[in-house]
Symmetry: none
Subunit: 125 residues, 4 copies
């Protein structure tokens, strides 16, 4: 379902959050789909249940999923564009572009790069 890499600089719970967010954004997980339980997920990834728990809890706070005690965890209806997240990413985006610019990367190179990436993954619709 999601993958965890110990060498990744992101903390484990963050990797899980990112992974699930991606599955939801890409449509691989549809609204009302049930997520693996904390224990199952912890087993599957061989990591501490607390870590899964934290990932779920934060995703719930962000409005991606909801939990029904005793029944499980499910994907929320819409979620819509996650504006807070977009803003966060855009801020980083800006800083990186600014530094790349100073390092001599041209607008054309960046635009080309974006086009490459946008097309590489194919569409998920």
């Amino acid at each position: 379902m999601v993958q965890v890499n110990y060498r990744d600089s992101r903390p484990i719970y963050q990797q899980i959050k990112d992974g699930i967010r991606q599955l939801i954004n890409s449509g691989a997980l549809q609204p009302e789909d049930k997520l693996p339980s904390v224990r199952e997920q912890a087993m599957a990834l061989a990591i501490n249940p607390n870590t899964i728990s934290r990932a779920y809890r934060e995703l719930e706070a962000e409005g991606y999923i909801y939990t029904v005690s005793g029944r499980g965890t499910f994907v929320c209806e819409r979620t819509g564009p996650d504006l807070a997240r977009v803003k966060e990413l855009m801020d980083k985006f800006d800083r990186i572009i600014a530094e790349l610019k100073l390092l001599g990367i041209t607008e054309e190179e960046m635009v080309k790069h974006i086009k490459d990436i946008m097309n590489s993954g194919g569409s998920n619709d």
Copy 2:
């Protein structure tokens, strides 16, 4: 000279590194320019000298500055574009674009965003 923001998620020494890197890349700091002494900088930013020291030490390891014990810290002659740094930034760039894409940001929006930023800062020539 540089600014530190306690609410920024980056550690302080990292903010200082980024700030100085930027000053050097942008030409605001020229080769052989002297940086504020560790103590001065610490006073000015109201943070611990060790933190400044760490920022300077790491920038030295990256080849941006050099330090002469007992005399001060100075900007290196730049020896061409910092390829390692460009690669590092490009990696982050890619991951952000990938997520923005999943969040529904279109190629057009990103390209427009880049154009805005590239023009905002004026030219460095």
Copy 3:
């Protein structure tokens, strides 16, 4: 594991770095082996954790080890000979030979010395 000598002219963090590098190069520490935790190591050597931390951090920057926050520090897969390090050592090598030459040490003596050392450690195969 490693030894620290207060009378050595090298700073402590440097001695630790050198010691660990050696353990890795010699194969005594294998890839994915776990290093003692910062605190353990600090206890064992009776020095401040910060000093260990610095040694680990710099070895990480050099690509010898990697660290997973909250889990520990581990040896990297070696990716071929560390060219930067070899160059660094060769520079020192040259300067020492140059001075020994001026001090009247002959080529024969040096070569003999090298042979002695190369054979003393046994083979690492």
Copy 4:
């Protein structure tokens, strides 16, 4: 007479010591030759007289030169091979060879390297 390089990692007084030792060892400075006075030397190199002073003082302690108050500083009769210095260098030499060995440099390569260096400088006799 000697050269000082601010970018060198060695402290200034050390560079001066090394420089003068070299001139003596190579025979460029003969026994009873007079060294420039502290003030002259400081002028010539545009550095602090204290620094020259320290270099002279330590070279005197090592038996390379001697000072006659009011007359100047002179090169000692023989000095002979500076055993302490040779030992010091040999220790570093050993450590470097050991690490180079572990990094996969062969005896042949080292010996070849030494031959190259020993011949490059020509003889000073």
